[in-house]
Amino acid sequence: MKVLVAVKRVVDYNVKVRAKADGSDVDLNNVKMAINPFCEIAVEEAVRLKEAGVATEVIAVSVGEKSCQEQIRTAMALGADRGIQVETDAGVEPLVVAKLLKGVVDKEQPQLVILGKQSIDGDNNQTGQMLGALANMAQGTFASEVVVDGDKVNVTREVDGGLQTVSLNLPAIVTTDLRLNEPRYASLPNIMKAKKKQLDVYSPADLGVEVTSHLTQVKVEPPAERKAGVKVADVDELIDKLKNEAKVIS
């Protein structure tokens, strides 16, 4: 079974992002970038499937500028067998990425596609679902457990009310939640081995996809600064303030 894993290059989670002075975007100048943590979990899951003898090949794919090859290499250092970069410097909005991934799915015919449930930059939480619709594949989102069983995959999902298990026919799409697994560390020898693994680069045209943006970013601004707290004398005053000042209860 072939497994395709999508990985995204995002601002490192340790970085305190700032809005650009003109409010046009997040300031990415000289900012440390890294693999999206949810994607790292996706890679780990795919590699575990391979180690368990369920998957035969793990392919890491990323959509973006040349620099995203670093995240593909990271995925290969973690255990992916080869990599694909779809090179585009157009902004990577969910629908565009989903269409490009659909192109890769058509080419590679994986039985399972694993993606992060969202990436920590845009927090869109859309790409996996859109890919599911475009490729007409079953989807199990927010996975906390993935068990492949013959030509089915059982995905335990974290939903508001608790856990839900869905049984999907393969080929299928899984998006990962935080508790699916704890990713390993890529060892240095594996980082060096990853340098020699195959990494193919496609343009959107190679995949027959036209990249057109449907989203316009209007404004990026930092969240309001937290104000200092106040002390209340008693519960009655607290309730009064919650009702009449904060207006969070009625």
Binding site: D12, Y185, A186, S187, L188, P189, N190, M192, A228
Partner: protein, 380 residues
Amino acid sequence: MSDPYFEEEHNILRDQIKRFVAREIVPYGEAWEEQGYVPRELLKKMGEMGLFGLMHEEKYGGSGMDIRAATVLAEELAQSTFGGVTVTALVHTNMASPHLALAGSATQKEKYLPGIVEGSKITAVCVTEPGAGSDVAGIRTRAVLDGNEWVINGSKIFITNGVYGDIYFVAAKTDPDAKGSRGISIFIVEKGTPGFTVGRSLKKHGWKSSDTAELFFENVRIPAENLLGEVNKGFYSIMKNFQHERIVLSAMAVSEAQKAIDITVENVKNRKAFDGTLWDKGVIREKMARAQSKVSIARNFVHYVSWLDTQGGDCIKEVSMLKAYACDIANEVMYDCMQFHGGMGFMSESPIERLYRDSRVLPVGGGATEVMYEEVAKRM
């Protein structure tokens, strides 16, 4: 963020170590400071990740990389704020085991390097003695060849990894009549060799999670083949490795200083006072901006010198400037950072208090600042 001195694999390595530090070191560091050493399980995990084989040959399990990989390791471990953990690893990777890697025979390397790379055998380097530190030529520990064995007598002090280490690279005089540095050789001594004892685990001002020992050698007999490299040439081997040792110490110093700045800026921005925050105060802004400038410039020099070392030429002058400057400014920066933490900075529970203490040894160990500047002056 692109840095012309590093390659893609260094960036990937950095990210992996970052995650390792956050998950495997930061939550436990304080307990290790209390107990006075780093547990072997952690060191084995680092070995599994390949961090102890960065620069060792591939046939012994290493990755055959250059000093830039060690610089990355030093910088990222230093971000943990536990200098003791950082130095435990760095002494093993870049101060002790290189003696074997650089001067050892194939047989010696086959015997010891795989365990060193795995982290199952931890190494220490034993040069300093009660009577000789900066002046290495003044050591008094003696080694005499007796038939098929060397017999070592003497003592060593301030030896990092000395209490819990397994393999010790010991400098001893083999020709007491030779002038100055000429009659020194280095020997491999294993823990448990009769006559070799760990005297005390030394209590320290900082680096509390690193074990530091006083060692005694009383008629310690080791096989002749435990001589490392050529007899009477040990001093040159020590000098050769000094450059790498100093680069990683500088990387550690600068990264700790950066961490101190980061937590201090965060702190003063949140600290409400005088109708605003401390960050509104011009004096504080200027001092922190000055600190950041020094640290950024020093960090660039760390990276440049790391790269320069890979170019094959002599870079003793640059390394000496770097070691002196980086370790000095780390201390200057720590002083201001601690100051701006107010009373909280004096409390043992704040990381700045530890960073401040830990930084104090940096201008002393691995070549004192004065000695480093003398090396620079000699080349001017």
